[in-house]
């Protein structure tokens, strides 16, 4: 526990809840149950990675959702698993005092701390659109990133620009990877991303001492490797052609597929249907609203919410109707036998009759 600096989290986490959490992390990472005790152990390790958490053009939603996740437990664990050295929302201190803390932390953990960035970085007007303590976001990011071990860009804003980058992008908002090029960057996009994706990324590092496998966009494959469409609980309705056409119509009330209402599941990668959000594991489609692709850089805040999505990798189910389907009843041995017997009888009759007739010699 980091006392003094963290006033929001005060309760102890019980052992059972801790194991539940470890189980969930194992699931998210796609690890076998063998790893559950190892995960628990890793999360309680004395050696905690120092984390410096920066905020730029953001709504603080990522932090807030972390804190709200399933009650305080997850938040607590996250904050236990890491050694949070700088966080503008969570820390009670302010002003020069906290800036001094930041410098100290950077020096103390030089080369070893993890830099978590929340929010996009504006680039127009030399970054004047976001300044903290007189420094632009760009400068702050570059300075802080210099001595870090790795960067986690949490949320869509930090990953690729997010909502500040939509439309005409008046501030020239970009993601971390467009500014920093010489450090490993893991993107955990989402608006907000599931807290479990963030936690699992950190735990992965603690467990295996290396970062998880990333896809082309720098996102962990364990969370962003599959299309939401391919994991959606309403997929069967899509495959069978059952759609909601309007909010509140019969199809909508029956829980049919929301593709026609603009669901971007078919073009968005993520694991929202699998792990959901909050204690009830809800996610947008689950409660009747189409996914709008908040994770995906060219989809969320780019395509309008009710615009029809592209269908990436359309994969018809195995039992899709094929071009030629012959519906015929099979030939049974009995039938073949009966017909054969009849034909045989006919032939035998003719032959017998013929034999009894006078031949050439008569």
């Amino acid at each position: 526990m980091i006392r003094g600096k963290n006033i929001f989290v005060e309760n102890e986490v019980g052992r059972r809840d801790f194991l539940k959490l470890s189980t969930k992390v194992a699931t998210v990472l796609g690890l076998s149950p063998v790893f559950i005790p190892k995960i628990s152990h890793a999360m309680q390790a004395k050696e905690k990675p120092a984390v410096i958490w920066l905020h730029f053009q953001e709504c603080t939603g990522c932090t807030e959702s972390l804190l709200r996740a399933e009650g305080p437990d997850v938040a607590q664990v996250i904050l236990d698993v890491i050694s949070l050295e700088y966080h503008e929302t969570l820390f009670a201190a302010a002003g020069h005092q906290i800036e001094a803390d930041l410098d100290q932390a950077m020096k103390r953990y030089k080369g070893k701390y993890v830099l978590v960035v929340e929010g996009a970085i504006p680039t127009k007007l030399n970054g004047a659109y976001c300044q903290i303590a007189g420094r632009t976001a760009i400068d702050m990011l570059k300075d802080t990133a210099k001595d870090c071990a790795a960067i986690v860009a949490i949320g869509s804003c930090a990953s690729w620009g997010g909502i500040p980058s939509s439309g005409p992008n008046p501030t020239g908002a970009v993601g971390v990877k467009d500014i920093i090029k010489d450090k490993p960057i893991i993107g955990v996009p989402g608006c907000p991303p599931s807290p479990y994706n963030f936690l699992s990324t950190v735990v992965h590092y603690l467990l295996f001492n290396k970062l998880p496998t990333l896809d082309k966009e720098g996102r962990p494959v364990f969370a962003y490797g599959r299309l939401i469409h391919d994991q959606c609980e309403r997929r069967a309705h899509f495959d069978a052609g059952r759609f909601a056409n309007e909010f509140g119509d019969e199809g909508h009330r029956k829980g049919y597929c929301l593709y026609k209402l603009g669901c971007k599941g078919p073009s968005t990668f993520g694991n929202c249907p699998e792990i959901g959000f909050n204690r009830e594991k809800t996610w947008p489609v689950n409660v009747g609203h189409p996914c709008f692709g908040c994770i995906e850089s060219k989809v969320g805040f780019n395509k309008s919410i009710h615009e029809l999505s592209d269908v990436l990798h359309p994969n018809p189910p195995q039992n899709y109707a094929q071009i030629q389907e012959a519906s015929t009843k099979p030939i049974t041995a009995v039938a073949a036998g009966v017909v054969g017997a009849a034909v045989g009888a006919g032939v035998a009759t003719v032959v017998t009759k013929a034999k009894n007739m006078p031949g050439e010699e008569d």
Binding site: A240, G241, N319, Y320, Q322
Partner: protein
């Protein structure tokens, strides 16, 4: 030994009268005029390149026509594999070297339908608006329409004690009346299948090929195939791969009716032949009594 020459020649003359019309068989047998698309005919245009295989049209059809669920072979999913007595329209998948494509199959509402030509009791009719309709009160259940449809569309309720033929009728008594278009075109989210007058759809299809020649096979299936159909197809994959047969530009009905009309129009030829035969038999009636 041998048939009496005179009577043989008489008999031959009689038969010859019938056979002199034989030249009418060749070439001229297709003499029955080709039927053309009328301005009032409605139909559909299906563009396989826009189809995402969502099967909204299958569900739309079932809803519009109150059709029950058709299960897949495992009995688990509402996923018919083919047209049937409960499935009037189906999306099928082709996955091959030329690419992947879906294809929508339903009654083609041919311009000169074989089923209409062959139905002995006028149960199938080509309506004013071009729809090929079915009338169960006229139908005797002979299933000739199943045998002669080049697309194998009509399905019969074999397991019913007094079955009917079932097929797409472009929702002529259901959705077409209440919503102005069939259930399938209403349901399609991408506009892969659209409804309209056939002549307008042909113009649209031609312009699509013209505007993106690389996206399509340069042929509008149904423009002339089998004498023409009211449901037109555009595709990137060759039509034969999608199960649409390679048919000549004339309809089978024109061939069959050409021959039938040549022989029986106005019952003239049969009348002539009959008169000749009866005449010969009359002449012979005293002759054959002796043995």
């Amino acid at each position: 030994m041998g048939i009496k020459r005179r009577s043989f020649l008489k008999g031959l003359a009689g038969a010859g009268a019938g056979l002199t019309v034989a030249p009418l068989f060749t070439g001229k047998a297709q003499a029955r005029e080709a039927k053309m698309v009328q301005d009032s005919h409605v139909g559909m245009l299906y563009d396989a390149t826009k189809c995402i295989g969502c099967k909204s049209c299958e569900t739309g059809c079932k809803t519009a026509n109150n059709l029950p669920v058709d299960l897949d072979p495992t009995g688990t999913f509402d996923a018919p594999r083919d047209l049937s007595i409960n499935t009037f329209n189906i999306i099928k998948l082709y996955d091959g070297p030329e690419g992947r494509s879906f294809v929508k199959r339903q009654c083609m509402h041919c311009v000169d339908p074989s089923c209409v030509s062959g139905c002995p009791t006028s149960a199938l009719n080509k309506e004013e608006n071009g729809i090929v309709s079915y009338n169960k009160d006229a139908c005797c259940g002979c299933r000739y329409c199943q045998m002669n449809c080049p697309y194998n569309i009509p399905k019969f309720q074999f397991n019913d004690w007094y079955g009917q033929i079932r097929k797409c009728e472009l929702c002529r008594e259901t959705n077409l009346v209440t919503k102005g278009q069939p259930g399938c075109t209403e349901a399609c989210p991408t506009g892969a299948v659209i409804f309209g007058k056939v002549k307008d759809l042909l113009v649209e299809a031609k312009s699509r090929i013209q505007n993106s020649p690389d996206s399509y096979v340069n042929h509008i299936y149904g423009e002339k195939d089998g004498g023409g159909t009211s449901v037109l197809y555009l595709s990137k994959v060759p039509f034969e791969k999608l199960g649409l047969p390679n048919l000549p530009d004339h309809s089978q009905a024109s061939v069959s009716e050409g021959i039938q009309h040549t022989l029986y129009q106005g019952l003239i030829l049969p009348g002539v032949v009959y008169a000749v035969l009866a005449g010969i038999a009359f002449k012979n009636r005293s002759g054959h009594k002796e043995d």
